[in-house]
Amino acid sequence: MKPTQAVPSATALPPKPRNLFPVWLAAVLAVLWLIVRDLEISFETLAYGVADMGEYFSRYRQPDFSNLSRYLELMGVTLATALWGTVFALVVAFFLAPLAARNFTPHPLAYRMAREVLNFMRAMPDLLLALIFVAALGLGPLPGALALGVHTAGFLGKFFAESLERVDRGVYEGVAATGANFPQLVMYAGWPSILREALGYVLYILDRNVRMASVLGLVGAGGIGLALHDTLRLFDYGQSAALILVILATILIIDYASAWLRRRLG
C-alpha cells in the first residue's frame, strides 16, 4: 500500500494559469482590422450598398418564366454533369483510397504517392480544371464533368482513406490472418467496414457537384451558369430571378433527397 501524501499546510490556491484567450482574441481582431484596411473595404460603400440592396433585390420581384422549358433542359444537363462527375470521382477514389490509408496500405511509398495525388487533385480549383479541359475538349458539359470528377476524387479519396484509418486494426488482422492478399483484404475487410460512412460521403459530394455544375457554365463548361451570366449582364432581372429560382429549387430537392437517403441508410 502506497504511503499517502502529506496534506499541504497552506490553504492558498495555486497560481491561476495564464488565460491566453484575450490575447488570441485581440490578435484576431487586429488581423481583421488590417485586412479591412488592405482590401479597402469602405463601410460607406457597404452602408450605401445595404441601403441600395433593398431596392436592388426588389428588381427580382417578378420572375419571368417565359423560357422555363429551356431552363429546365439546362438544369437537366447540369444534373447529368454532376452525376457523371461524381461517378468518375467514385471510381478513382475507389482505387486510390486503400493505398492512402496509413494502417491499410501495402507499402509506405504507395501511401505517400497516393496521398500526394489526392492532395493535388483537391488543391486545383474545379474552375481551373474546367478551363483546361475546355481548352482541350472544346465547349460543352463533358469538360465540366471531368473537372468535377478530378477535383472531387481528391476529396472522396481523402474521406474514404480517413474512414479506413478509423477501422479497428483487429478487423484487418482477422482477414489478413487467413492468408488473403491485398485486393481481397480491401474488398472483405475494408469497404464493408466503412460502407455506411462511404455512402454518406458520396451523397455529400453529389450534392456539392450539383452546386458546382450549375456555375461551371460560366466558363463554357455547359449548363445553366452561362444562362445566368448572360441574363445578369443584360440586366434582365426578370429572367435572372427565374433562373435563380430554378437553380434553387433543384438544389433544395437534391438536398432533401440525399438527406432522406442518408436517413434510410442510417
Partner: protein
Amino acid sequence: MSNISIQSVSKRFPNGFEALKGVSAEIAPGSFTVILGPSGAGKSTLLRLMNGLETPTSGTVRIAGEALEKANLRRMRSSVAMVFQQFNLVERLSVATNVLTGRLAHRSWVGSLFYLCRNEDMDITREALARVGLTDKAWSRADKLSGGQQQRVGIARALAQRPKVILADEPVASLDPVSSEEIMGLLREICDRDGITIIVNLHQVDLAKRFADRIIGMNSGRVVFDGASAELSPQALRTIYQREGIEHDNSLDLALAYA
C-alpha cells in the same frame, strides 16, 4: 506433419520494449498446448510470430521446416489459422461470408473480389458452421450475435481454412464463464477429432490445467515452465506469475490459491 519449431527467438519493439528474450520451444503436431502467463509476459507476441503478424528481431520460427517469409506468407497463413480475443469479425458481413473469408487464400481468383465463391467453398463453410453449431445463424449479420457466438464464428472461419494449426490468442478473455467452457471444449474437441495442432494463450490457470496436454509458462518474455499440465505445481505457478522485484508476497499465493 507440421511441427512448429521456435529457436532462440527475441523480439524488441521500436519503442524499446523487449517482449521476448530468447524463447525456444518445439510444438508437436496434433498437440494441445497452452501458453500461460500474466499480462505483458509476451504470450501474444509469441503467438503472432507463428503466423507472421509479428517478425522476430533474432532467432527463427519454422513451421514444418519452413521459415516464414514475405514470399510464402500467404501460403503459410492459409494453413495456420488464428482466433482472436476480440473475435475480429467483419461486423457488417453475414456470418456465412465471415466464415467464407477463411477460403480466400485458396482462391486468388478475381471472382472473389466480386464476392463470388465456388460451391465447394460454400459447402466447406456450411460444414464449419455445423461443426460449431451455428447453422441457423448463417445469414445473420455478424455483429448481431453474442460474444460466445461470435467467437464460434471465429473458430468456424479458422476451420474453413482446413488448417494444420490453430492459434488462439486469449480466445475466452472477453467471455463469461459458461461461454469460456464452451469455446475451450470446442477447441479441445477439434484437436482430438481432427488432429489439428492447437496453441492457446490463456491467463486463467484452471482452464489451462483442465484442457491442456502441455503448458508453457511465460513471464517477462522468458519461458519459466514447460511441461505436462499435471506437473504444474504451486511453486511453478508462483514463478510464472510473480512480478519482478517482489520476493515474498502473500497476496500472490492467496490469488493463486483461488485460481
